[in-house]
Every structure is written in C-alpha cells, then in structure tokens.
Symmetry: D3
C-alpha cells in the first residue's frame, strides 16, 4: 500500500511547532503534524486543589485537558458542554496527557501551583493525543522559563524530554505516525510516550481488528522510537533561545 | 485618554480574515481584530432538528455556537464541559450569533439542512461576539458556494451582508471597537449588528457603570455604522473569487 | 390594525402592583400588566458569595432569578429542573434583571448581604421580563425598608427608580407594551430599561423579521419613555407608606 | 398547648379554593389552607409518553409535578433548576401526587392524552403536599369538563373524589392539619389520602422524633377522616356549576 | 391463591444474614430474604457534612444510600450514573433507610462522624427496601463495635433494634413479605418499620390498584408485627459474639 | 521483598469462578482473585442502539459497564450517580472491557441484540479491571448457551477465549497479578488482555513512578502470558457442562 502522501513506513509527517502562539497562558505552542493541528497551552494558577491542601501534600499539581473544536473533524462533533459532560474518549486522553506531562517535571520541587495543560485540537487528521503530548512538553518548558524570569521560581526546574507518537499495523505492515485514513483502516493501533533516555512512560496497544503478536509489538516499538527521536529534535529547535 | 494602540476614537483595530482556515467544515475562516482571534466555521448536516420534522416546517435550520479556549483569556477560563453546561454569557452570545446569521439567509429557500455556525475564540481581547458574527457571515457565504459547487443546491442562495461591532462610552467619550482594557473601563457598552442597507439587526446597549442618554446612544450608533461599513469591505475582499 | 383590547399604540395595559404578596421574603409584590402576572420577591442572605469573600470585595451582592410556572404559558412549558439546567432565554433574562436592579442601589453602601431577586411568572401574556424588572424594583425598596426597620441597616439606602417596558414594530407601526399576540407578530422587538432621570440602563432591540432604521428605533424609544413614566407613577403609588 | 391560631385539635385551617386561577391550562385552581397557598393546574398534551406508544399501552397517562417558589419558605430555597435536578423530597411528593390523582380517574377510558398535574407552592406553611392533592383533584375535574365541552371527549369521565390532609402527634397529642411550626415540633407526622368511600389511597406515617403506637396511629387516622370529609365539601362547592 | 413457595400468608421467606461480608467497611452484612439479596455496609468518615460544621450542630450524621446492580432485576436496569442522577424511587428509598437507621442510634452521643449506610441490591425479588433496613441495622451494630474496639468511641453506644418488612393485599388477602410476583399483583402494598418496643418508625401504605379500609390496614399491621419479631431474632443471632 | 501472601513473583492469587451467581441475566458469574471479587453479568436486549438502526449496521452490539460498590474500597468511594457522571477511570475501564469482549465474539453473526456486560466490584484488592474481563468472558459464553437453548440463536456462536491479568515492576522486580498494596507501590503497572492463540488484544503499560525499558516490558509480558494461560484453565473448568 502506497501511503497517501508518499511517506515511507517509518517516516513522520512534516512537523511544525510555533512558539508563543497565544499571549495569555504562561506557555503556548501550535503544533502541526501533517494536517493535524493542536494548540497546547500551560496556564499557572497560584494555588493547589482543595484535596492537596486538605491533606497537606507539598508541591504543585498538573492536570491535562483535551478537546476538539466541533469543526475539527470530518463529521461535525457535538460540543461536550452541550452534552453536559466529557466523553469517555476525552477523559481517557486527558488522563494520558496528565500522566505523561507529570513524568516530565518534579512537581514536588515547585511551589503550590496548579499547572493546567490545555490541548485544543483545531484540525484532526489522526494522532491528536500524541501531538498534544509532544506540543505540551514544549509549552511546559516555556511556562517554566516564564515563571523563572518573573521571579516566581528561584531555580529553573529541569523539564525532562517527553514526546509521543502513534504507530500501527495496516494491511499487515507496521507504520509510523498514522493519519486518520490509516488509523481507521488499522488492525492494531499503538500510542507510545517516551522520555529522553529511550524509556517508556506509556505504551497503549489496542487490537482494533486483529490481535497482535510480540514480534509485531516490537516492530511497532522500533518505529515509535525512531519517530520520537525526531520529535525530540523538533522540540529542541522550538525551544532554542 | 490616549488609546492603547494610538487609535482614533472612530478607528477599528487592524482586521484580517483568513479564508478556508480548516479543511473539514463547508466554510471556515480565521478572523482577527487586533489581538482578538476567532475561528468561524459553518458545517452542514443534511437533515433538520426533530421539532421541525415533527411540525413539518419547510426549509433549513441555522444554529450558532460559541466557545472560548480556556487559554484564550487573561485568567484561564474553566471548560464548560467540565462545568457541565454552557454559562449564561455563552448562551446569550450563541443566541445573538444565531439570530444575526439567520437574518443573512432565507432559510426557507434551502433544503432540509441544519447549518451549524461554530465560533471558537482562540484569543480574546474584547469584541469576540462581534468578530464572531462578522467572520461567520463570510464562512456562511463560503459554505453556500461549496454546497452549490457540489450540486447540493440548484441555485446559489443570496447571502445578505451582516457585520457587527462593539462601541462604548469610556471616560465620557464614545469609542469604536473596544479592546478588553477599554471594555473593562467602559461606562456603557453597546453591540450593534447591521445589514448592508444600514439597517439594524440587533442593538444591545448596556450601562455597565453609568446610565446613558439618547444623544450618547446616537453617537455610538454613528460610530458603529462607520465601523461596520469598513467591515463590509473586509468581508468583500475575503470573499473575492 | 386594531389592538386586541382597543388600546392606543402608545397605551400601556392596566397595571396593578400588590404589595407584600408573600410573607417570607424581605420584600414581595405581585405585578400585573394586563394578563401578565409576576411574583417579584427580594430575599436577603446575610453573607456574600464565596468569590467576593475570597477577593475581599466590599459591600453586597445582588443576583436575579427568573422562571415561569409550567402552566403559565399557552403550551405547557417543561420545568427547567427536569431539563437539568436553565434555558438560554432564562439565563439571558436573569442576567438582564440582575444588571437592571444593580443599577438601582449602591451595593457598596450595604453590608455583606446577598440580595436574591426572584421573578416567578404566574401567567404570561408578553412583556414578562419588563414586568419582572418593574415589580422587582418595588420589592427591592420594600426589602430595604424592612432591613432598616429591623435595625439591620443604619441608614435607609437610596433606591433609584428603575422600570422597564417592551416596545415593537407591528405591521410597520410602533406599539407600546406588546401582548403575546403582538409580540409574536412583531417585526422588531425592543426592551427598554430606564432610570428616573430618563436615562437608559439597557436597550435591547432585535429584528425578529425585518431590520429597522434609526428613525424606527427613535419612535420606539419615544414610546418606551412615555410608558416608563407611567410605570414610575405606579411604583410610587405602590410604595406609599 | 394552645394552637397558634386558637384552633381545636381536630380543626382544619380556613380553606379557600379559587377556580380558574390561570387561563392557559385546561384546569387550574389556587388552593389556600391557612397561609399555605398552592397553584394546581392540569395541562393536557394530546399524545402519550414514548414508552406507552412503544408498548402499545392503551389510554392516557397522568404525571404529577411539584415545586416551591424560592420565596415561598422562611429561608429562601435554591431553585432546583440551578441545582440541576429535583431534590429527593420533591421527587417523593411528585410520585405521591401522581399516584393519588391516578386513583381519581380511569385513565384507560381516556384517549391517548398526557395529563400534567402541576402543583406550584406560592407560600408554604405546612401541609403543601396535601393541599396540592386536594387542589389538583378539583383542577382535574375542571380539565375534564373543558375537554368534554370542547368535544375532545365523548363522555365526561367520572372523577372520583380524592383529598389529603396531614395529621401528627405534637407534645403527645394528635393534631389535625399541622402548620409549619407544629410540623417542625411534631413527634410523628402522617399524610393521609382518602377517596369518597372513606378508603385509603395512601397512608404515610413517619416517626420524626418518637416511634408511635397502633393506638396513636388510629387517633391520627380518625382526625384525618374528619378533616378530609370537610375537604370533600370544599371541593364540591368549588366545582358547583 | 397458593403462594409460589408454598408459604403461609403469615410466613416469611427464609432469611440469612452473613456477617462481615466485606472487609473494608466498619460493618458489613449480606442479607438474603428468599431470592432477594442485599449487601449492607456502614462506613465511617471522621468528619461531618459542611452544613453541620457551619451551624455547629453537635454529634454525628447518618445518611442512607441504595442502589441496584443493573443485573439484579428481571429486565436490566440502566445505571443511575449513566442517567446522571438517582431516580425518584431510589431517592425515596434512600430517605427511608436514613430515617429508619437514625431512629436506631442517638447520633448526638457520637463524635463528629458521618455514617454512610450503603445498601446495594445484588438480586431483587421484592422487599429490597425492607431487607436493606433489616440488614443495615446489623451492620450498624457491627460498625459501632469496631469503633469501640479501635478506641474511637469511649463507650459502646446503644443501638436500638430496627427491622422492616413488606405486607400487602393480594387477591383480597393480606400477605406477609411479598415476593416480586406478589408485589406486582398486589392491590395494596405496605412497608412497615418497627423498633424493639413494637412501635412504628414508619408506615407507608399505598393503594396500587384498590383503596383499602382501616380493617385491612390493621390486618396488614398485624402480619408485619409478627414478621418483624422473627426478623429481630435473626438479627440477634447474627450479632451473637 | 516478600509478597504479602508468600506468593512467588510469577504466581497468581487463588482464583474462583462461581457460575450462575445471579438468576436474572442471561449469563452471570462471581469471580474472585484473592480478595478481589467481581460480579460479571451479560444481559441481552433484543434490539440495537439507535445509531445502528439509523445506519443499518447489521449484527449485534456489545457494551461494557463497570462500577465499584462504595463499600468495596479502603476509603469509601462516592457513588457516581451522586456525582452525576462516571469518573474518567470508570470510563477508561468500561471502554477496555467493551473492546476486549468484542474481540471474543463475531457480533455480525448474531441477530439485532445488545449485549450488556456489567462488571460490579464487590470488593477491591487490585486487578479489578482484569478480573472483570476474565469473568465476563465466562458470563458471555453462558449467555450464548442460554440464548441457543432458548432457541433465540440457531447456532451456538463461537466465543474465543479472552482473559486479562495485571503485571508490574515493584522494587525493580517484575511481579504477576498485583494486589492493591503492590499496585500502590509499583513503579510500572501493565494490564494485558490476550486471546487463546497467545496474541494480544490490549497492552497498557504505564510508568507510575519510573519509566521502563523494552527489557522490563518483555519480562512483564512473559509473566502475563504465564498467568493468562492459567486463567484460561480456570475459565474452561467453570464452563464445563
């Protein structure tokens, strides 16, 4: 099978990270992976959730939120505010974003802050949760720099690299960075979140149509590792001062 | 009082309308008025709401929806899906957008379609509801053209010009197109929606701090008319084929 | 067109304000404008909302609530408690009532009170939001007197006159105080809230069917002013000691 | 203990039933029992709930709804639409009203109608659920007459008498028709719904403070029977043509 | 009519109370009445609701909760978490459980605890609310013992016996402890909650199909008393140390 | 580290599957893995969701639901019906159960049924989602047999084996089937769902505290495979006729 945009099986779509896309949040980027576009913002609130205060938990809290514009997808998607609650899929992604970003920063070294990581999908063409994580990691770094420059933090905390990519099995072949069409046709779909040491923060493999073997799992993980290394390069470039 | 960006009292902020900003909806634009940025999209569903079918109401239905990204404002705004329902302010704006756009098109001449007009604020610096209406009028025109080109409509329906602008009284002086800071300091705040004949579709004047006179109302309406004429020019330019 | 009840174009429906309609709230009236009947009550709670305490905002808070009995309208209206949330129209009216009444009293001069202004429509025949505001202004005055007599307030605060009326264009003619039938047939519908100096607190004009000109707007404002002057007389009479 | 208004232990408060209190619903009354005032309305919708159509259940459906104005009680009560759902107490009363009124009419003999029985408390001084049932039974009769006169029903269906009253044990003594103060001080609180044959439709006795004996239960039932007979007289008077 | 399981009219179904059914809550039992099975648990939280703290109400709070597994009934029951709120029936039962258990213990003599009484129906064959109360009374006693043994309570508080049973009129005959089939066919349905002195805590009689007389009420109360005495024996046996 | 119950690193807790635990659903089991106990039920509704009918999708639908009794965990868990919506964690698990069970049966070969897979946790000590899947696979098989015996299905459909187990890294060592204490202390937590061919239906690995390597992932997958083979034996035993 020829990939829609003539990509090789192990090739990412073109990536672009636009820094400081919004002016209000502490950190903000627009990340584009092919036609998938996500605004990732990190906003800081200078207190912690009620339960942390009640239990005297030290340090900061970080929470991820994710949404799609109704007009971001092929068939218009009803607003979740209209439905009255976030969908299961949304909550699953929000929890994944939160866990992934909490792996990037030692929250205990920060003050009593809440960090809101907002990922809003402007256009969806597959891989939105992975693009969200990759973009949000850059926005988090930008937010920490801003807090440090404003004197809110004595030291610039270390932000560990975190990035994510989707892989899958389509027509029996492992592919890197699935677009929507490929994702819809995939037998297996896997999302991989890694850190800068090449270790896994999260691996979620799902047999949409056909169960998969350990060998297939390993091929997908190989592709993911290759893609994530390139994503780390893009992040570094976007963060250059 | 000097205006923040050296504008005259009767001067609009720089306007930019980017056409076809998203690929999925039938019509889509990004409208920018100064730092205020709104994605306006018109999506078509090829049926009508249940109540119209039940009552055999002919023609199409058009509904407006409005939201702000949490990261669009100075203090992060909680997602309405988290709160479980749209806020009062949101519902007020959605109803205004719906009424304004329904004045632009004869829905009875269309088929059994539902037109969703989605206005999503990417960055807010005052005047977001007016920018939404002005941008959505362009997206509506683009959507009609697309339907016509796809053969879904036999004739291209006439879309009447509709645009909106905010005016106000700040420090006793009438000003056109308030930014957030001016809006927060305004004694009176007025939103005006007009059609191409210079007639009013909606006038909403609110004394935030000080009640206003008929004379002040007339000064504000004069400014609004001047501003809206320029907005019609921008819309025309954006719609040029 | 003959008006249903032989009224002149500039004539209000019969008005009646019954004082102390309920015994529990601090102030309460039943206002009747023709067949439209609304119970307006002002209840006092001796604390302020959480956000005011958190931000140390001095003075009182005033909030408006509005509802219709299911049996108040031609077709029975589903309860909003059943629907799970107030409708957009309700929220719009609640916000209007709140803004209008906040213009009647200097909340900073009161203690840390919350004033609930409840407007409950017993029977609806057009103009319910305007009747709500006109009646609530009387209930607010009664509530202040009661607080003063009970020694809760050292001085009786000044309550500025506030009243509201609907006007519209029906069959091309401007009419004062539309009943439901007229409202349903109107090309333009305008709600005007004024204070005792003849200044506007709120003007909301909506082209239901046909856009309107400045001249038409002025004719409607003239009618509104005439009607509101009479409403001020009714309020005064109801407040006589 | 002297009763607040010098009533005997077996004496009802003054009752007044005002017929045709609202003009829109098919039947409507205002019932007053002392200071307790309730608007009872019966509205007809000319179809049945989805589940009845789906299961082909013949005849009509009747459902009870109950609410209090926020200003009806001593401390202002939050609106249930604001809370997002009816409280447990409300649902309990709604179910009681529905069951009681369904005992008054043979729904299988009516067409595919839904009868909404709306009981809205304007002022609360104890016994609101019983007043609701007693008033609603009159409104139901009025609604049936109207349907018959309009030719919607071939025969005027028989409406069996139904009325309700509260009884209780206060300071060890059985009392009829408790006002709020008595209810708050009661050891036992019982609501009794009877039909015209002196049979029970519903008996709900609750030990608020002290468990009660069979003898006490019988004393309360005796009082209730006495009171309900008088309520039947009031209903008849209100229904006289 | 022969009863399904050859029971006499005044015979209970086989009862079994399994103590310490769960390990986490302070007290827990599985109660079985015929095929009806309910898990009753009492969990302790070492604080009181916000409104008690705000009003300085001394002592503990006790609240009842009730639910059915979706798979507990003949036709699968939708989860209330999916529906977004507890049904009216559920709320009615929860309030009944709370009132009944609060009659068993003097909450003012306990510390600032909240006692959650959770009744979860594993299988439903009629009488679930009564089985819940009877089982929860045992779990409450077990929980108090545990608190005392853990040194959380200086004295073991007295738990007064409380038990409940359903009775009804089926085919004109009074029956004790209705199973689902009998309940569905009953003309009258009555739930009785008693204490150890043979006094009533709650009596709720409902004419499902036919109004009932005082004599019928008395026959049902006689049956209930007989059944509840046996339930007290079962409770005692289950509580033996 | 010694495991709490002297288990080896690669040893499952004692497993027990009680068949036909409830009488109403088509299939039902109680599964126990150590102290973790889950009721798994499969209920059949003889129609499909609205969206399937609307789009003419052939075959059956299967949906998973999951809940915990409030009393199932160490600290009592608030009911989701009280909160008004399922939590994110619940939705994530429900989606996982649904996907896993849909892999066990070819829904296109069934009629227009909806299969509800309800997993209700009676007691939680780690691994509840995996126990749910393993138990539900047995309940699904039982339900299919029942449908076939009742003549609702012409052929007994093939149910492919599906089972799940949790694995993790605790104190640097890979462990099989974590109990709650181990799960709370784990650096990595992985849930594995496999079919009878040893292929993966789902793999979800999460670094709770420390990112993990490919080698660690492989050790965990080895343990999981070992455990799942034993689970298949237990399932077979439970299904023996």
């Amino acid at each position: 099978m020829q990939r829609e945009d003539n990509r090789q099986a192990d090739e990412l779509r073109p990536i672009k990270i636009t820094r400081d896309f919004q002016s209000h949040p502490a950190g903000s980027v627009l990340i584009e992976m092919g036609r998938t576009r996500v605004i990732c913002a990190v906003s800081i609130q200078f207190n912690v959730p009620h339960w942390m205060r009640a239990q005297n938990v030290p340090g900061a809290w970080l929470t991820g939120e994710y949404s799609m514009l109704p007009s971001a997808t092929g068939d218009r998607k009803m607003r979740e505010a209209t439905a009255g609650k976030p969908q299961g899929r949304t909550q699953e992604i929000q929890r994944l974003i939160g866990r992934s970003l909490r792996a990037a920063v030692d929250l205990k070294q920060l003050g009593a802050f809440t960090l809101y990581v907002d990922c809003d999908v402007i256009e969806a063409d597959g891989g939105t949760r992975c693009a969200s994580i990759t973009g949000a990691a850059v926005a988090l770094q930008l937010a920490m720099r801003k807090l440090f420059l404003e004197g809110r933090l004595k030291n610039l905390p270390e932000i560990k690299p975190v990035a994510a990519v989707s892989v899958g099995i389509v027509d029996g072949l492992p592919l890197l960075d699935l677009c929507y069409k490929e994702d819809a046709a995939a037998d297996v779909d896997m999302n991989v979140v890694m850190n800068g040491d090449g270790k896994y923060i999260e691996v979620q493999g799902t047999a949409e149509e056909k169960p998969f073997t350990r060998a297939q799992s390993n091929s997908m993980l190989d592709l993911a590792e290759k893609g994530i290394k390139q994503l780390f390069e893009c992040q570094k470039k976007a963060l250059k001062i």
